[in-house]
């Protein structure tokens, strides 16, 4: 007997006892639905987190930070010039694994559009800054080498600044406006988009109906600094706001407020850091006053929490699938003890034990497979409900892989739970089975 015939018999058996079959499927349906939903949820969290990681600069982002010198080295402190533009130039020349370098100067300044004013941090940067900090552009252009070379008074501003100074304008219309920084006029040449986390975006979309005071003010916002950017050319910053603070400072020797880097190839992350360290040891004359701050640990923590979520969710869903499989086994055992006589007849007309085995197994697998398909349908519904009741979470993402995996798992549960009943059925003695009442 081939499997096709067994399938036909099995499907007829399932159709003949619709309610019973449905009951035995129920465990599988729920198991598959919860497994798919769990996979979708964790995939959503994973994607959201990864997108977030990318937006904050990605793993390639390295921050050169100042470090307290140990007391033993204290006398040598003056030997080191600290972080300077010279550092950046040396790194550019001697650390080929670093693809972009962004030195920064910062100053607290009064910014004004004429009608609105506030105090904010203004930063002088090089064009590489836009790559290192992964800026996107809403309108206008980024600062260019020409801006830096000529010391032009051009500025790129973030979304928060636009809202603060030009609340009546749509952000793109701000390009071309004049921004006063400590009363010096700058032309706004570019506007950055609003950076926000996925969940904030969704919450905002939900709140847009009732434009209330609900601002995400207090909560920690990793994009606050990016949204409050006021970026001007490094040279302009130096000459307009920093020159003359210390008479001997030059553009090269003034101490930087930030120095960030981007590693070109993540596979060679460690060697890249070594190159930077070697370059800085030289420029800092061996004084150990800097440190390389990376996202590795932070991202590792995120990754491991994603893994933990996946594992625990998957485990719970797996348990429910196993319970579903036990349900199928239970029903199959009941079903064969009800069909002993039928099995006896089949044996009497020449069915081998193997034929009966295949028949019961195929029936059990069919129940699991149909249950799995119903579970997929249920999962679609379940995820819509999840989206409604938990809008702040990351959007659940249904993946084909997750669906296929769950259905295969259900089929496996059906297969395993069918083996014992099938074995029992196939070992029936034909005479005893025929006499069975």
């Amino acid at each position: 007997m081939n499997v096709l015939v067994a399938l036909q018999i099995g499907l007829r058996e399932i159709a003949a006892h619709k309610f019973r079959s449905f009951l035995s499927m129920l465990g599988i349906v729920l198991g598959v639905a919860s497994l798919i939903s769990t996979i979708a949820l964790t995939t959503g969290i994973e994607r959201g987190t990864r997108a977030f990681m990318q937006q904050v600069g990605g793993l390639e982002y390295v921050n050169v930070v100042n470090k307290e010198i140990s007391t033993k080295m204290f006398e040598f402190w003056n030997l080191s010039p600290g972080r300077t533009l010279h550092d950046a130039q040396v790194i550019a020349a001697s650390a080929p694994l670093i693809s972009h370098i962004s030195p920064e100067l910062a100053v607290g300044a009064a910014i004004s559009s004429g009608s609105h004013a506030d105090r904010r941090q203004v930063r002088g940067i090089f064009p590489d800054h836009f790559v290192v900090s992964r800026h996107e552009l809403l309108a206008g252009r980024f600062l260019t080498d020409l801006d830096v070379e000529r010391g032009l008074r051009s500025a790129v501003v973030g979304d928060e600044i636009v809202r603060l100074l030009w609340p009546e304008l749509r952000p793109p219309a701000v390009v071309g406006k004049t921004l006063l920084i400590n009363d010096r006029p700058f032309e706004v040449v570019g506007v950055l988009p609003k950076y926000e986390r996925d969940e904030d975006r969704r919450r905002r979309a939900l709140d847009s109906g009732n434009r209330s005071i609900r601002r995400s003010g207090r909560r920690w916002d990793p994009f606050r600094q990016k949204n409050e950017s006021v970026l001007i050319p490094y040279s302009t910053m130096f000459f307009d706001f920093r020159a003359g603070q210390f008479p001997l400072d030059s553009m090269e020797s003034v101490r930087l407020d930030a120095l960030t880097l981007r590693v070109g190839d993540l596979d060679r992350f460690r060697p890249a850091l070594d190159q930077v360290r070697a370059a800085l040891d030289l420029t800092h004359r061996g004084v150990d006053d800097f440190d390389l701050d990376t996202r590795e640990e932070w991202f590792d923590r995120m990754e491991s929490s994603i893994r933990a979520t996946k594992l625990s969710g998957g485990l719970i869903a797996t348990i429910s699938l196993v319970v579903g499989g036990i349900g199928i086994m239970n029903i199959m055992l009941a079903s064969i003890s009800e069909r002993v006589r039928e099995i006896g007849i089949r044996l009497a007309v020449g069915a081998r034990g193997r034929d009966i085995f295949v028949q019961i197994l195929v029936e059990s697998i069919s129940i699991a497979f149909i249950g799995g398909l119903l579970g997929v349908a249920a999962a679609f519904g379940l995820i819509e409900i999840l989206k409604l009741i938990a809008p702040s979470e990351n959007v659940p993402v249904m993946t084909t892989g997750g669906i296929v995996f769950s259905v295969c798992f259900a089929v496996l549960a059906g297969l395993l739970s069918g083996i014992y009943p099938a074995l029992r059925a196939s070992r029936l003695n034909p005479i005893a089975a025929l006499r069975y009442e």
Binding site: A16, R341, I345, A348, V349, P430
Partner: protein
């Protein structure tokens, strides 16, 4: 070579530590084309003999040869194959599958001999017409009378074109007129060349055959020709 040959065949059942000798060193030969009845009261061992002859069970000891197959110590699978190819069964209680229609029941042995679906159906329909159920092919057993059910069972026994047909009290659940019709069918089958073995407790029914074997206490007591 005879169609069926038993030499010193015994069948012993163990219930607890008690041995029950259901068949005790039976010798029996059935030639092709015979119409044999096996009679005896209940508990005489006639059912056990029938199960052995029908390859539903293997003997405990002795030599058994059926349709050229030595089945003295055959595996269950081997027995299943012989049942499928060489033997047709007709039971007292019909033993039809309630879920299947007439054609579905008749084609059942063919399912296990691995025949293609279209061919199976064609042959089953032909047999259904042969046993006089040409207008009942799509009916289920519950929609049929007892006589019609037994015709379906006979059709099922015939569909694989077996060399030997076993009937276990085939008229037991039928009224006498219908029973007579069924017995006539067996006579006709025998006339067309099939070997028929009829098991019954009723000597009147056994009288339709040409050779009667009487069994008592697991032994063949006597043989006669009515």
């Amino acid at each position: 070579m005879p169609l069926v040959q038993l030499e010193g065949v015994s069948k012993i059942y163990r219930v607890g530590d008690q041995e029950i000798r259901a068949l005790d060193t039976v010798d029996l030969v059935i030639e092709t084309g015979e119409f044999v009845s096996i009679i005896g009261p209940s508990g005489s061992g006639k059912s056990t003999l029938m199960h052995l002859l029908g390859c539903l069970d293997a003997p405990t000891s002795g030599r058994m040869q059926i349709c050229g197959n030595d089945l003295s110590s055959a595996s269950q699978n081997r027995l299943a194959d012989v049942r499928n190819r060489e033997i047709g069964f007709v039971f007292q209680a019909f033993n039809l599958l309630a879920k299947l229609d007439v054609v579905g029941n008749i084609e059942l042995p063919l399912v296990y001999s691995g025949m293609r679906a279209a061919e199976r159906r064609r042959r089953a329909e032909k047999v259904a017409r042969d046993v006089g159920l040409g207008d009942r092919m799509a009916n289920r057993p519950v929609q049929l009378s007892g006589g019609q059910c037994q015709r379906v069972a006979i059709g099922r026994a015939l569909v694989n074109d077996p060399r030997i047909i076993f009937a276990d009290e085939p008229t037991g659940n039928l009224d006498s007129a219908t029973g007579e019709m069924i017995l006539q069918m067996f006579r006709d089958l025998n006339a067309s060349g099939k070997t028929v073995v009829l098991v019954t407790h009723d000597p009147d029914i056994a009288a339709v055959s040409r050779r009667v074997i009487e069994i008592r206490d697991g032994k063949i007591r006597r043989e006669y020709c009515p």
